[in-house]
Each structure stands twice: as C-alpha cells, then as structure tokens.
C-alpha cells in the first residue's frame, strides 16, 4: 500500500459540484496556501465517458507534479481508467456521492440494508434540478406527456423511499419544501419520504489525509502513485 507523499507538493482538488458547499466550508480551516479548487457540473456522470474525459483532461492540464484530490466516487465507471501521469491521485473508495454525503461507507451500507430501493436527494442535486420531479418536466417538454410519464414509470416504480440527505438542521429547513415537492410527485410509486442527517466526516477525513505527513490511505480511500492507473477493481469491496 502506498503512503501519501510528504507535504510540499501542490494540492489540487477536482470535485463534483455536489460537494462544493461542504468542501469550501472544510477548507476554511486549511493552514497555509489553499489548494486549487475546481468544481465540475453535476450532470457529467450521466454519460460516464464524458466524466472520464473531463477529469482526465483536467488532470493532464496540471503542470506541476501535484497531489490531486478527486471529489468523486466510481460514478458508473466514470472514474475508472484514469491515468495519474506525473501526479498522485487520492479519491474516496465509494460507488458514488451518497456514501460521501452520508459520512461513511458504513453509513451507506446501513441505509442500503434498511431500504435498498432508495432514491437520494441532496441540496446539490435539488439545485442542479436532478430529481424525479424536474426530470419528468424536462422529459415532457422533450417527448410529450404520455411518453414522459411512461419513461418515469419505467425508471422509478421500484423505488420505495425518497431520502433527503442534509448536512445539518438548517440545511434541511431551507430545502425541505423543495424536497417535499419531489416527494409529493413520487408518492405515485408509494415512495415514502424521509430526512437523513448526513455528515461531512468522509470529506473531513479526506482533507486530514491530504494534510498528513505520509499517512496510509486506509480502506476508505484510494491512492494512485505517479504513473499509476485508477481502476474499477480497486473500488470493489468484498465485505
């Protein structure tokens, strides 16, 4: 297992916009020159190949050998087959953003055991308009009401729970009415609405790792040394 490089390398963070708010908050406590921070559009994961190309291009365009932190999960293989080039890459070892929003891989497993058919909402996803209600409206504009309704049915009828994940009570308050509007739409599939308090614990551990002196990434993160390849198989856990 590789250890984090000693401090001194520039730190570059490339992340999905879904984490913008959380990361910017966490980085306020950063000692010294803050890392370069770039956020990418929410919707890139819809076509994993585009996500991969975008992230690879961003990595390749960093001139100085750096520690590049990827604020992503495997995201439908969008983050597999990414080449480190001259950099170290560090990424949470998770399928997607849900585990990161919930605070840990274990929290995600717990929620999955409670209800595998869960559709998750978050502040980021609500702002990006990526939720079943907005999707149904967009589909209706593009394909007409009948086709849109059928397409929504095909996609969502198996889900049983709509879970709004927020960082704290304040965030829940602010986004509750939007989340409830989505919940009202999803009631047609008997999806129940629940609110979950997430945690910035996963991102906090990521930031701590970056600032550590040669720490081991452990089982919740993947560290790819220069010349290495970020592969799907590395994400697969056996527990």
């Amino acid at each position: 297992m590789n250890a984090l490089p000693p401090p001194g390398r520039p730190v570059v963070i490339l992340a999905c916009r879904v984490f913008q708010h959380w990361l910017e908050n966490l980085l306020q406590a950063w000692a010294g020159a803050p890392p370069a921070l770039t956020f990418f559009d929410y919707g890139l994961h819809a076509v994993p190949k585009n996500l991969r190309q975008t992230i690879q291009a961003a990595i390749d365009s960093v001139d100085q050998p750096s520690l590049i932190v990827l604020g992503y999960g495997l995201c439908g293989n969008g983050l597999s087959d990414i080449r480190a080039g001259q950099h170290f890459l560090l990424i949470p070892r998770t399928d997607d953003c849900i585990a990161i929003l919930l605070g840990s891989y274990q929290a995600y497993r717990r929620e999955m055991d409670r209800e595998p058919g869960t559709y998750y909402l978050s502040k980021g996803w609500l702002e990006a308009g990526t939720n079943p209600l907005r999707e149904s409206q967009k589909l209706a504009e593009k394909y007409g009401a009948e086709k849109a309704a059928w397409l929504m049915e095909v996609q969502y009828h198996k889900y049983r729970r709509l879970a709004m994940v927020a960082r704290d009570g304040d965030e829940l308050e602010r986004y509750r009415s939007q989340a409830e509007a989505v919940a009202a739409y999803c009631a047609r599939w008997d999806m129940r609405y629940e609110e979950l308090l997430g945690s910035d614990g996963y991102l906090l551990r990521l930031i701590e790792l970056v600032q550590s002196d040669g720490a081991q990434p452990g089982e919740d993160f993947l560290l790819i040394p220069p010349g290495g390849l970020l592969e799907q198989a590395l994400f697969v856990r056996t527990d």
Binding site: S80, D95, M112, G117, L151, Q155, R237, T238
Partner: protein, 208 residues
C-alpha cells in the same frame, strides 16, 4: 399500412401508430411472421445501430422497444399458430441485493425485439433462481448489477451454476454501471455487455 410504415413507426417509438399498423397489416392478411421479421425485428436492429452510433439515446431506444412490444403482443396469437423459431432462450435478472432494473428492462426489450424468447427473472434474484432458469432450458443467463457492493452476487451466482453442474450448459453475460470486461473474466462469465444494444449482439454470437 405497409410494413415499411410499421418499421418506421417502431424506429420513431410511436406505439399507437405501430399498434394500428400491425392490426391493419393482419387484417390485410399479411402473415404474422413477415410482420415480425420484416418490420419489428428489422426496426429494432436499426434502433440498436443508431444507439451504438450515438445517434439516439436511452429514452429513444426505450420508446422504440415499447412500440415493438406492443406490436409483438398483437402478433403473438398468430405466431403461436405458425411454427416460428425463436432465436434462442435467454433468462435475465438483476442480482440478489440489487433492485435497479432500468438497464435490465431495456436489455429484455431489445432481446425480444431481436427475436429471442426472454424470461425476465426480475430484481433481487437469488443464485438458485438463475440455476433453475438454466434447468428450464435457458441457453444464456444475463445478470445485471448497479453497485459494486452487489456485484459480488454475480460471483455467487457463477459458483451456484458450477455447484449445480449446469455451468457448461449455459453462456453467461453480465452488465451494469460498475461492471467491466475485466470483472467478467475474473468471475468466469462468458462476456460483458456495455449496453443493451451490445448485449443483443453478444447473445446472438454466443448461441450462434
């Protein structure tokens, strides 16, 4: 309504027009197997090509598949009366622990559109149900998983197929968002299919 019009309406996903077209074609006395082969199956082949070329996306492919299904339902009674050979028997499901089924449903529709007899095992399918499907004559098993955590059920199913002594009687294709070609090789599946269109092509090759 000509076969050409039915073909075009399937490609464009116009379900009501396909339904009307197939009814009218049957009334005109056009044999069901001709409607199936020259309009429906040909149309789905074209839809698959358009998808692989990036000309259309998942929604358009789903609309086309639905239109084809509607036509197929009308033909079934007539087809049962004649002696139409299915292209092969496939059983497909989302593996144990996983409820995602959009991709799997799409593969089902594409395979039916290509003339295969498909048994849809549904979601959260335990290994023994896949084994049973092989014992019931499935020539190909399709397994889908949408999470790395449920991919492990694919391996369990492979082991169950071996333990039941039916592995050599069946071809296994796997797919789903986190699945890769390398994973297919690792667990001893016969193939990985990146999307529904590719799945159809691979199944055809596997039982050729």
């Amino acid at each position: 309504m000509t076969l050409e019009q039915i073909f075009q309406n399937v490609v464009e996903g116009e379900m009501a027009a396909v339904e009307a077209g197939v009814r009218s074609a049957l009334e005109q006395g056009i044999p069901a197997d001709r409607i199936l082969n020259e309009a429906l199956i040909q149309a789905m082949a074209k839809v698959g090509r358009l998808f692989e070329e990036g000309e259309i996306f998942v929604p358009e492919m789903l609309f086309a598949a639905r239109a084809m299904q509607t036509g197929l339902k009308l033909l079934k009674p007539a087809l049962a009366a004649t002696d139409v050979q299915s292209a092969g028997k496939v059983a497909i499901g989302t593996v144990q622990g996983d409820l995602h089924d959009i991709g799997k449903n799409l593969v089902v529709m594409m395979l039916e559109g290509a003339g295969f007899e498909v048994e849809d095992l549904g979601t959260d399918v335990p290994p023994e149900k896949f084994v049973q499907a092989v014992q019931n004559g499935a020539q190909v098993i399709g397994m889908s998983a949408l999470l790395t955590t449920t991919m492990a059920s694919m391996l369990k199913t492979m082991e169950a197929l071996r333990a039941a002594g039916v592995r050599e009687h069946v071809k296994v294709v796997i797919g789903g968002a986190p699945v890769t070609d390398a994973y297919a090789r690792k667990i001893g599946a016969d193939a990985y299919a990146a999307d529904a269109s590719v799945a159809t092509r691979i199944v055809r090759q596997l039982i050729a």
